[in-house]
């Protein structure tokens, strides 16, 4: 089963910390863009492909009308069947009301993800968000009232002035809402964004504080029944994001729209981040990022982002029994420092391990490939 990703690169206003591709929302452009999406999806007609997830990411997908979203969903259904599919839409709390949420639900969307970021208005102001927490609360409740059972909220860690106590309060406030899934991201100052200044850097959490905040968030979320299943993702039982899991499990997905990434027929590629070009091209342009990704390496690289980790038996198959043995020994060494868990034949990272996962993964891959 494939996953489908649809990128909606439009925003009412660009958040100062965001480095993802998006342009200012304009109705005309959006409509042409939706038509181009449908055209591209239709191109896969008749190939017998099936998908069980569809994810509208952005940008701000909720700037589209429910009708436009519905058109894209219908096109996908036509081409990829979408039986029992998880259909997610990312939404800005300001851009939805109960009526629009009902329409989206009717259009087929069954999972909604709100960029809440914080329960503290001071921090929302710092992040340049259009909404305050009350608006976010209302949006989540409206979604529940509109029939959404699977609602996710984003939380941003490490904004100016945050400490572990204020963070725990934000987590508690989020957990009081009818959410089934929370993504907690550590704020990263990206090069070239308005946040890329010494001033902002000095105001926001340094590595030490960020690490403490992250561990506090993990602990507080788990207390509230949100189980960590990926570095930045937490879910009530049964509500893990099926779509996101595909990324980490090395499953294939097709991406539509400017700046959308795909992993299809063994090749990783993306569509260039250019709305006009996407609209004007008969079929979306394709830039290959990796012709033949190393599947074994990806298994380690991506699998270790998941709490359930990787299987040592699988490593033995992908590399060799000797390598898997070396890996296990290295893992046991790190387990002594509380960074890794080795249970039966499963190797996974702890929350502390996730914090230094780049280094750990590089070390493991070095062991496996030398």
């Amino acid at each position: 089963m494939h996953g489908l990703y649809v990128h909606i690169p439009f925003c009412l206003r660009k958040c100062p910390y965001c480095s993802f591709y998006s342009v200012r929302f304009e109705e005309d452009t959006a409509e042409k863009y939706v038509q181009a999406l449908c055209r591209n999806i239709e191109a896969y007609e008749g190939r017998g492909l099936k998908a069980d997830t569809l994810y509208f990411g952005g940008g701000t997908p909720s700037v589209l009308t429910a009708e436009q979203v519905g058109r894209v969903v219908d096109e996908c259904r036509q081409v990829f069947v979408l039986d029992d599919a998880e259909i997610t839409l990312e939404a800005n709390p300001c851009t939805v009301d109960e009526q629009k949420l009902r329409q989206l639900r009717t259009a087929g969307v069954n999972r909604i993800s709100f960029g809440i970021q914080s329960a503290d208005d001071k921090r929302l102001g710092f992040l340049g968000r259009l909404h305050d927490f009350r608006t976010a609360e209302n949006a989540v409740r409206a979604a529940a009232a509109a029939g959404f059972e699977n609602i996710s909220g984003d939380l941003m860690l490490g904004t100016a002035g945050e400490n572990c106590d204020s963070l725990r309060a934000s987590v508690e406030a989020l957990c009081a809402l009818p959410l089934t899934h929370i993504s907690a991201y550590m704020l990263k100052i990206e090069e070239g964004t308005p946040f890329d200044t010494d001033k902002v850097r000095s105001m926001t959490a340094d590595d030490e504080l960020m690490s403490d905040l992250y561990l506090a968030a993990v602990e507080q979320l788990e207390k509230n029944g949100f189980v960590q299943y990926e570095i930045s993702n937490f879910a009530k039982e049964g509500y893990e994001s099926r779509h996101n899991n595909k990324y980490w499990l090395g499953e294939e997905y097709l991406g539509f729209g400017a700046a959308a990434h795909s992993y299809f027929e063994g090749v990783r590629y993306c569509c260039p981040p250019d709305v006009q070009r996407f609209i004007e091209s008969p079929l979306q342009p394709k830039e290959v990022t990796e012709e033949a990704p190393d599947r074994a390496e990806e298994y380690v690289l991506l699998g270790l982002r998941l709490s359930k980790g990787i299987s040592i038996d699988r490593i033995a198959e992908l590399y060799s029994p000797a390598k898997s043995h070396d890996l296990k020994n290295a893992a046991l060494e790190l387990a002594a420092h509380g960074l890794v868990r080795v249970r039966e034949n499963v190797l996974s990272l702890t929350a502390e391990g996730f914090l230094v996962s780049n280094t750990i993964i590089a070390k493991f891959i070095d062991i496996l490939s030398c």
């Binding site: 991201y185 590595d207 030490e208 960020m210 990434h261 990022t289 790190l334 420092h337 780049n358 280094t359």
Partner: protein, 601 residues
């Protein structure tokens, strides 16, 4: 055959930066040995490193024709000499090939340590010394003072010394005329058995070893068989000629008084040691020229490829360098920390740096070098005497009855305002004050006896920084002196790193141990867990630092299935790993090994 009274053989003596190469260039230009359009600055120094550092590493020679004011043509053989103490022996052999020396003195700086050392060497070899005052174009030039320094310090008349600017080309002709009139012509018996001095040699891949010689007596023709007296080897000569500025010029024969080259299909440069005597195998001379000695390394260090897989490349590169440098020695060595590498012996620190630089530049190798070590003399309780050039082999303290270390006679020439700073430095380096003499009212010659191991680290840098670069320094080996020596080990995460061990005087061990652990802490990146860095003597820890555990290195978000960033990060980390050495559980970057070589900030 050139009449000997038309030949002048001379060298140029100068302190670094006093303008030796520039004067040589001007002379080449004026004698039209090189056409102007071919002039490249500093023609004689043809190694990149020499040009950049403004020093001569190898001796080199060139023949020039000068049409003098008396209407006659003269043949000049200019023999360039290395100016550094590491190559003292080579300098002495180059001087032995000459009748005269042009002594360049910087009009603003006056006499420096190396100038003096080499001038004394020239006088010892009975050379006519012709002083030349250079850089008179500088605003700070004081030619009168420079002249009186030459007279007072060296004791040779200098008031009529040519005052020139090699850079501007001022008064160069005066220098050439004085070479004709002041420097004696050679006087060798052309009919005597051949007696020629080897003053340089290098390997040419087509012709084999090319020997540079000065014929003192007799003559030699291509095809004749020569005998190298010290090497006890015979070869049939192939080509004989002289050195043009750009190429070798074959002429078929060389006569008494001349300077030129010989090729004889010699494969091993070890056979053609500088200082050896070349004679005719069929009609040998009775005795060889005096002064030959085999030079021995003074400083040793381990050289390892940063990438262990490059061991073979390193060996090939060292072998190639050795073709041109008979004073370089190396043998394979294994370190637990660094794997396979070579223990290399050098004439001195400069020689070591040059070899490292050439390996890195000319052979494109990334190296890890261990701290340089001198040769310690250890008497065991059993009475056995051992010479130790590798800290790893330093015996257990319990089995040592006494230990000695090499010491040097060091002369430091400095403006008097820095005397205090220098005394402090020498004190700190366990120096023994011997003498202080005023060269003139502003400058002094400080004489210290210093342990060689105190100057092999970073003495020269320390001296420069304490005297704003105004002091100059020269030394010669004095002998061995009893010393309380200990071996200092470094432990990372509780394990000894053999490549970081060194031998140090007991009194300096604590300070150096502390500094070393601090430096390592600065230069080893955080690891996944806390790493203690310790310095120890025997089993006793004398210093400790802790490298804290890495706290955060994570890519929190991979948006919309875009994992390219994660991949890029991984590639970057893989690249970084190549510059790391895995020591037990700790990853140590190459820079950490380098940082411990310079502990003085």
């Amino acid at each position: 055959m050139t009449p000997q009274d038309k030949i002048r053989n001379f060298c140029i003596i100068a302190h670094i930066d006093h303008g030796k190469s520039t004067l040589a260039d001007r002379i080449l230009e004026l004698t039209e040995t090189v056409e102007l359009r071919e002039m490249e600055d500093q023609l004689l120094d043809n190694m990149d490193i020499e040009r950049e550092r403004g020093i001569t590493i190898k001796a080199r020679a060139v023949r020039l024709t000068y049409h003098a004011d008396d209407g006659e043509d003269y043949y000049f053989n200019l023999i360039d000499t290395p100016g550094h103490v590491d190559f003292n022996y080579e300098v002495s052999r180059s001087l032995a090939a000459c009748e005269g020396a042009v002594l360049i003195v910087d009009a603003s700086q006056g006499i420096e340590a190396q100038t003096l050392a080499n001038t004394y060497l020239a006088i010892e070899h009975d050379l006519e010394v012709l002083p030349v005052i250079n850089k008179i174009d500088l605003p700070s030039a004081d030619p009168d003072r420079a002249c009186s320094e030459v007279e007072n310090v060296i004791g040779i008349p200098a008031m009529d010394a040519p005052r020139i600017s090699a850079k501007m080309g001022t008064n160069i002709k005066e220098v050439l005329e004085r070479i004709v009139t002041d420097i004696p012509a050679p006087k060798g018996d052309d009919e005597a058995p051949l007696k020629a001095l080897i003053f340089d040699s290098y390997y040419d891949q087509y012709k084999g070893v090319i020997i540079y010689v000065r014929v003192l007596e007799g003559h030699i023709k291509a095809g004749e068989t020569i005998r190298l007296m010290a090497a006890q080897a015979e070869f049939q000569t192939v080509e004989i000629g002289y050195m043009g500025a750009k190429d070798l010029v074959p002429v078929g024969e060389l006569h008494a008084g001349e300077v030129g080259y010989i090729t004889a299909s010699i494969k091993d440069i070890g056979d053609t040691r500088v200082g050896d005597t070349v004679t005719n195998a069929e009609r040998p001379c009775a005795e060889s020229l005096p002064g030959y000695k085999k030079v021995n390394p003074m400083v040793y260090s381990g050289i390892y490829p940063a990438d262990g897989a490059k061991y073979g490349d390193l060996r090939d590169a060292l072998e190639k360098l050795m073709l041109n440098d008979a004073s370089l020695s190396f043998e394979p060595e294994t370190s637990i920390a660094l794997g396979f590498g070579f223990r290399c012996g050098f004439l001195g620190l400069l020689h070591m740096e040059i070899i490292q630089e050439r390996l890195e530049r000319e052979y494109n190798l990334d190296l890890i070098t261990t701290a340089p070590s001198v040769i310690y003399k250890v008497t065991m309780t059993s009475g056995e005497v051992k010479y130790i050039d590798n800290p790893t082999n330093f015996p257990d303290p319990g089995s040592i009855s006494s230990a000695e270390e090499p010491v040097v006679n060091a002369h430091i020439y400095t403006p008097s305002e820095f005397v205090g700073n220098i005394m402090e430095l020498c004190q700190d380096r366990r120096g023994t004050f011997m003498d202080m003499q005023y060269i003139d009212e502003n400058r002094v010659d400080l004489h210290y006896v210093l342990p060689l191991n105190e100057i092999v680290y970073d003495f020269f840098d320390a001296l420069k920084s304490r005297t704003r670069g105004y002091a100059s320094f020269d030394y010669e080996l004095k002998g061995y002196a009893a010393s309380k020596l200990v071996k200092l080990d470094v432990l990372l995460n509780g394990e000894i790193v053999d490549a970081l061990s060194f031998i140090v005087h007991e009194d300096k061990a604590y300070a150096r141990g502390r500094r070393l652990t601090e430096k390592l802490k600065e230069n080893i990146p955080r690891q996944l867990f806390e790493v203690p860095v310790q310095a120890a003597i025997g089993g006793k820890i004398i210093a400790r630092e802790t490298i804290k555990a890495l706290r955060k290195d994570v890519l929190a978000k991979c948006y919309g299935g875009d994992i390219t960033r994660k991949k890029k990060l991984l590639e970057k980390q893989k690249e970084g790993k190549k510059r790391m050495r895995q020591l037990g559980t700790v990853e140590v970057p190459q820079e950490a090994f380098m940082s411990v070589l310079k502990l003085d900030d």
